[in-house]
């Protein structure tokens, strides 16, 4: 008799472990590293984030003279948020980045 049979039949009457993702969302733990966000008001233009970024994803926005993050290169390591002296860059808990149009 296969050993897994009781477990399999038991599973029939258990709540499924998976969730219907876009409709049901899992709660994220505190401190999850999601998409970095920049508060342009707080930025003091020290450019430490540009030096710290391992992927060279941060560049200076010519219009506002503040850093801007190219998410295509960003690996969400959180180094920029760590070095920022005024906490102008923070790691949000957002993890859904799909867009309907091409942003470059």
């Amino acid at each position: 008799m296969p050993r897994i049979l009781p477990k399999v039949l038991q599973n029939l009457f258990r709540k499924p472990f998976t969730v219907k993702y876009p409709y049901v969302k899992r709660e994220l733990p505190k401190g999850y590293r999601g998409r970095p966000a920049i508060d342009r008001e707080k930025c003091i233009r020290c450019w430490l984030c540009i030096r710290a970024c391992p992927d060279r994803a941060i560049s200076i926005d010519r219009g506002t003279k503040t850093p801007s993050i190219w998410l295509g290169r960003c690996t969400f390591c959180g180094e920029c948020a760590e070095v920022c002296p005024t906490k102008a860059i923070i790691m949000t808990e957002e993890f859904e980045y799909t867009t309907l149009y091409n942003v470059t």
Partner: protein, 383 residues
């Protein structure tokens, strides 16, 4: 008459691109030719173009599954190179995350191995319980896969006190289910029929072909860098080096499953003994000319990092030898004499990680000539 059965570069039993050319007589394998290099990304070259601190994240991306052990080994290498001693608490946190990684890597292995022998229920259940580890890692490092916790001279994130009860609870749950899987792996008739006495690697062959990690330990070779050449906190923690004597696929699975239980023990100890203190020490990134070699025990076996500095902020050379590379040589003696039906499970039994493996050298299979490809050539081939 033999005919050639190509497995790869695209094949459902390979999760990554690699080419295996099997010469088959009916269902029996008479010869195998392994051609590597399909996942080459030029990472070693890229290492010498970034500074030491940025390279931590590059090292993490050599492999997705064993990213922490790569970044830890890299950090340990550079710390040794610069003569820095990380604080005790940092070492413990590294150990915790590395062992969690071993657990999730082995559970992943179990799931895929079950899928390779057509046992999809075990596959789904093993991956369900793997979620516990992923959640734990998410809890303490902020990322499910890439932890980004290590940095040169310590760690960046603390294991908070309020996380510890939650983690211990999850570890208990995990221990129970892993015990169940170990039991199942050793007693289910169909699993035994598919795995036992398949892809046997004898102890002599394991020594001859320099097998590493669980593959060597399944051939009764007591080889574990955590014990043979202790690094980090492993000297202070008690654990057993798991060995099995059969040397077949079943033994490799048993070694991995029992190692999960050992890892759970290590994580528990580390959580209990977690010392207080600073997380990291300040580092000076201009490292004087020096060279060093560091080895650690990755989930798949021995991982070696070699680094040479030249007085600037960037390393002159970083060389990585991943465990999969060490196990490729022993693959041939596992395959020959087996049948086609054994290919997926035997191939998976060494837990290959081709993304780790393919970096710099190319072996021309026809002439046997080894050539190192430079950046210009690669650029030309890309076109």
């Amino acid at each position: 008459m033999t005919f050639v059965l190509p497995v790869g570069p695209q094949h459902p039993s390979l999760k990554e691109p690699e080419f295996f050319r099997f010469e088959v007589k009916g269902e029996e394998i008479v010869d195998v030719d392994i051609r590597l290099g399909y996942a080459h990304r030029g990472i070693e070259e890229a290492f010498s173009r970034r500074n030491y601190k940025h390279n931590v994240y590059l090292a993490e991306r050599i492999c997705g599954i064993c990213n922490v052990v790569h970044s830890t080994t890299y950090c340990q290498t550079i710390e040794q190179l610069a003569g820095i001693e990380p604080p005790e608490r940092a070492k413990y946190i590294r150990t915790i995350i590395m062992e969690l990684e071993r657990i999730h890597s082995h559970l992943l292995w179990l799931g895929v191995a079950a899928h390779q022998i057509g046992f999809d229920t075990l596959f789904m259940l093993a991956w369900r319980d793997r979620e516990e580890v992923m959640d734990m890692r998410e809890l303490i490092s902020g990322g499910r896969v890439h932890s980004a916790t290590n940095t040169i001279g310590g760690v960046r994130r603390n294991v908070k006190l309020e996380h510890i009860p939650e983690m211990l609870r999850r570890l208990d749950k995990l221990e129970k289910s892993t015990g169940y899987y170990a039991d199942l792996w050793g007693s289910d008739r169909t699993i035994l029929a598919r795995c036992s006495k398949v892809g046997v690697l004898s102890k002599d062959d394991a020594v001859k072909f320099c097998a590493v990690g669980p593959v060597a330990r399944a051939s009764n070779l007591k080889l574990d860098i955590r014990r043979n050449d202790p690094y980090g906190t492993y000297e202070a923690l008690s654990f057993d080096v798991v060995t099995e004597s059969e040397g077949d696929v079943w033994a490799r699975g048993t070694v991995r499953l029992r190692e999960i239980l050992e890892s759970i023990r290590i994580v528990r100890q580390a959580l209990h003994e977690l010392p207080s203190g600073p997380l990291r020490v300040p580092v000076e990134l201009k490292i004087p000319p020096n060279e060093t070699l560091e080895r650690t025990e990755a989930p798949r076996g021995e991982l070696v990092y070699y680094a040479r500095s030249n007085g600037t902020e960037t390393p002159e050379r970083i060389r990585v030898r991943t465990p999969t590379y060490g196990n490729f040589a022993s693959m041939k003696s596992m395959f020959i004499g087996g049948t086609v039906a054994e290919i997926p499970i035997v191939m998976w039994s060494i837990d290959p990680c081709f993304g780790c493996n393919d970096r710099a050298t190319i072996l021309d299979a026809r002439t046997g000539k080894v050539s190192v490809v430079n950046f210009k050539q690669l650029k030309r081939w890309r076109r």
